[in-house]
Symmetry: C2
Amino acid sequence: MLRSDVQIISVDDHVIETPNVWQDRVAAKYKDAAPKMHTDDQGRDYWVFEGRPYFNIGLNAVVGKPREKWGLDPTALSDMRPGCYDIKERLRDMDEDGIWAGLNFPSFPGFAGSTFFNATDKELSLVCIQAWNDWHLEEWCGAAPERQIPMAIVPYWDIEASAAEVRRVAANGSRTISFCEAPHAVGMPSIHDAAWDPFWAAINETGLPVSMHFGSGGAPNVAPGGPFTATIAQYGLNSLQCCIELVNSRIFEKFPNVKFALSEGGIGWMPWMLERCDYTWERHKIYTGMADAKKPSEIFREHIYGCFIADDAGIRNIDLIGEDNVMFESDYPHSDSNWPNARKMLEESLANTPDHIARKIAEDNARRLFNFPRK
Amino acid sequence: MLRSDVQIISVDDHVIETPNVWQDRVAAKYKDAAPKMHTDDQGRDYWVFEGRPYFNIGLNAVVGKPREKWGLDPTALSDMRPGCYDIKERLRDMDEDGIWAGLNFPSFPGFAGSTFFNATDKELSLVCIQAWNDWHLEEWCGAAPERQIPMAIVPYWDIEASAAEVRRVAANGSRTISFCEAPHAVGMPSIHDAAWDPFWAAINETGLPVSMHFGSGGAPNVAPGGPFTATIAQYGLNSLQCCIELVNSRIFEKFPNVKFALSEGGIGWMPWMLERCDYTWERHKIYTGMADAKKPSEIFREHIYGCFIADDAGIRNIDLIGEDNVMFESDYPHSDSNWPNARKMLEESLANTPDHIARKIAEDNARRLFNFPRK
């Protein structure tokens, strides 16, 4: 069971950016083209970046609304709980939810910075990425250093620049890098390509784990015409695919200190994935040139972390996954979150789990992975 | 445990076609263009169809070879165990493997007939599909009617013609239709499209279950440059995606008698998939127009069957999947098969499973689904 002294750490939440994030920080010459927030005559807030409007500023920030009202995402900051964008209010919402600390992905930039990846002006985009990283570290996390784990994004269109940004933010105190789960899907080299070695070298050297949020490599490839319920359920398959690629990769031979968290990917599929990958590797390793590689399940235990919101199938089979490889997340303020019942629901899920394992899942694994010790 | 009187039924095996399959059966005017087997000066057997050569006649028929010799697939009938293509030899191999009955997918035509789907001459292609169906029913299964479950393929480029073929083969005694797991991926309407209604109507009326083999909708979308071990392990994700689409579909409201077997897809991911699909549906059903649909896990229990070769994670969680929704397969003669140890390995896997559930998994569920009672 989950003891009352466990400080729950959520390893996947989301912050909605406020108008000042970029305008306060970029040099004068970038201010016009950098993201600015406007309000239209229907009261909708929207970003303008490089002269183009971006609506849907909240992505899916429905926290606190009844399910009957979901569907049209909030279109204005005033239509969201202030906890979405105000760190003091966030801490209050976390208290109500029973969560001690959180790790927040960006919203307007995309989970891993895809908005800037897709932008035209790459000099400006790098400036905007660094501004977000500095704002997040100094303002959002700076206001609650014991309760917010600083995350950073990188200019992943440029591998050397990404490595440099990893080193810069690590020196400043960031604790994880948000990275695209499928770089090949956006036209960059595959994760199996040695082109990424300078990036992995920076990750390896700094010890920052890589957080890959599902959807950061694109939407799942669904059958057209089906309901959106089928699409949402398939996002976890992005994490599953990414995980199979990772446990079959040779990255860790060169860079043994690289670790990955599969944000929002779920964990219930992991026992099957591990069994299947070991079966496949055992049979086909000779002619595929993998006989000298580590077993996929061993790579997994040393380098991969699963993240779940609600996943009773995974918790039941925690012995097959590994009690050191699983972390909780609340997904505040998105529709998958259970605010203000996150702790209550996690307690129910862990009711039959030995105390020391429940503690690892809810707190200790995240503290160890993200180098975020109790003060 | 698996009792000795259980007659194991494998719901996914493969037959390699012999030179006579089409040449014996198509009308004189089609003989030249219909598939003919030739042998080249290196001793390789290959098919010629519509004037084009097709090598790799055995797909992956490595049964009986040591793993060190895998990689170059057998390129001649003489390089395979005769059980691949000779029904009498197959029965001997099944005896040695401890398998009572089998269900065989086509090889040269593709699992669901993709070779003919991709052909130019559609009149000829329909003739070839019907010839395979008749050969399979009369010769292959006719030689061992208690030990071979007849399967048929359909001309799925033409939905009405597919419906007609379903009715034709059902009348002749076929027990299942092999169908493409992702028709949208090959340019046909999505399974959610009402365009398929005439096909589902024929399935519904005849009661033939639909067998969808992984890979029948194409290869998984892997990260380039990774080892082939990662690709093989990802084929099961095709079945997982297909399953999520099906449990979110409205097909069964109009056609309540339609059932699907997810051939070679594995079962260990099903507890997670069911939990996740119910969670997603419960939260999003209102604005996605799914509030009046059945719960995904209920649709699954009534209409979907998982098929596994070796899947201890799935067997451990059989209560979460449903003891009536799972079937065994041997995958003879492909590299995933365990000949001649299939029964021995299944016994080990089911050692802690209650006898009546082991019996369902190994025999009864397949007999019920495929209407293939003990004589």
